[in-house]
Symmetry: C2
Subunit: 375 residues, 2 copies
Amino acid sequence: MDKFKVTPWEVEGRIDYNKLIKDFGTKPITQDILRVLEKHGRLHVMLRGGYFFSHRDLDLALDDYEKGKGFFLYTGRAPSGAMHIGHLLPFIITKWFQDVFHANVYVQIPDEEKFLAKRGLSLEEIDKMVETDILHISSLGFDPHRTFIFRDREYIRHMYTPAVKVAKKITYSTARAVFGFTNETNIGIGFYPALQIVPTLFEKKRCLIPAAIDQDPYWRIQRDIAESLGHYKAAAIHSKFLPPLTGPEGKMSSSVQETAIYLDDDPRTVKEKIMKYAFSGGGATIEEHRKRGGNPEVDVAFQWLHMLFEEDDGRMEEIRKDYRSGKLLTGELKMMLIEKLNRFLEKHQKEKRRAEKLVRLYMHDGKLAKRMWEG
Amino acid sequence: MDKFKVTPWEVEGRIDYNKLIKDFGTKPITQDILRVLEKHGRLHVMLRGGYFFSHRDLDLALDDYEKGKGFFLYTGRAPSGAMHIGHLLPFIITKWFQDVFHANVYVQIPDEEKFLAKRGLSLEEIDKMVETDILHISSLGFDPHRTFIFRDREYIRHMYTPAVKVAKKITYSTARAVFGFTNETNIGIGFYPALQIVPTLFEKKRCLIPAAIDQDPYWRIQRDIAESLGHYKAAAIHSKFLPPLTGPEGKMSSSVQETAIYLDDDPRTVKEKIMKYAFSGGGATIEEHRKRGGNPEVDVAFQWLHMLFEEDDGRMEEIRKDYRSGKLLTGELKMMLIEKLNRFLEKHQKEKRRAEKLVRLYMHDGKLAKRMWEG
């Protein structure tokens, strides 16, 4: 049996997502709930391809929308290194939900979390990353008047009072059980969960959180205390971890260059990395591959295409069949991914160069941002 | 042997202050150090009478002053109930130090601490107390351009970043050992020590903290980490606890009416309380008292006069002798205290009515306050 580990600070091993659903007590995103979503807008490939695979109360959020009450969206990014493609995915699905459901989006940039959680990372280093990270996020086309991006250390003036109310309800023993805190945990990271929970209370509506499933412990605590604070339990949709290029285990890491495609990578680098490192489910030789076929389940190029990029479901099924049969070679499959990736990155990098002005709107001058600073 | 307990949240029993000095590893305030202080200004009665009895690095702070570098002062008040006379004493001695050493004073109002530490106290209730508490503090005559009074939940915008740096250096196990935190401690009070330590880092000078000795655990932690943050270890002078009217054990409590003289008490109430409740070291009857004399060591009226009010040391010695011999009766001693107390409160209440304007200077518009908000 494969062993794996999933906490907000560590993801290791080959993850059994069905077991995670059981362990965490969440629900699978079923065809039924996808059909409800589909009534409102064409499903995003990350939903069709199963990258977002689990949820809590997504059905209730959709009910709220249909009843006219609506919901709001919340996600975030803790700067700790150059952003890779995996970091962008929760934002992309959040943008999809904003477009389809006209919802407000809150983006937390916890510019203290990784400083507190990691040895040897200074606040000054984080501050240098923050700006670039916000530019990346601001390149995705969020509605400038319905989106608020905030840094913890700046927006703390509005977060501390609600954080204190949240913190009073979380004991050491709860934090220890949920996050695995030890005697060596510092009191800063001990307090941090309160700050990650606060944005779920920004509106008197249900909050829907798209995030990787390692963040679920925060939402479990939120759901235990939200109602006693006069708020809704947070709803969430959980993504899998984007497998690192080098193999189907763990998650893509900013600190290991060859496992990741960075948002600033140029086309040649992308091509080289995919060709050289992308873990293949194909045969050891072309002859063997033609004879026995490939295994799409472990093939990273296939998985990325399937979960993130191939909009055409029919085409994707063809690729799966051809790869399994051996008709499609690993190299060919990789070229497909390279093309999609580079098209995506080219657009992203272009938008990023134009995003400076948007940052001001998202952080301070847009309608929602203004209201949040005044409130 | 008497048992006693001293933590920032509990003070119980008859306190052996010499043992506290040993247990906490502080130094007694000796005649030698008082002589150094006296070079700069007439000693305050709380120093002469031994109410402030212990210190850390007071000698170094005085050296810094003599070398022209100077030091700054820091104390505070966590609102949780009506202020009594005991609450004012650290501020009175702080004011004395400001006058004598021309030092900046920082006053922290942790308007979240007691909410986090106490069951059944709401932030709304605290907010009501904050204003009155600040008025009381502002009545003492601090220099409006060298004094900054701030509430945690408001000033957090400037405190959170340094607090994060402090918090990273304090582990759960340290907090547990120093403060006695348990599994039931909430993560908010777990983080709070970082915020109480931050003001010790406000200037690149030595910080001198006048406070009751139960606050010393905070300064012990501060002294362990300050130098690694490029700052001085905090200096402190420690007061005893003002004995409650009702007896020489524990400390005066806001929640037990008859143990305390409140800052808003009128002269009649003061007289009644002292006459009725002030624990007497005198004989059970006048005859017995005349014969055997009284015990000034446990007599609350004597102790208050000695530690807080009687400016004339010669007069105080007379009172001690006369009370011990039986010449001075308990009722007479109490009348002396009542007179001093009421004179003090009359002046304080008058100043308080005029303090509104000063509050703005201390909190926002004075020179130091302005610099702290801009910084």
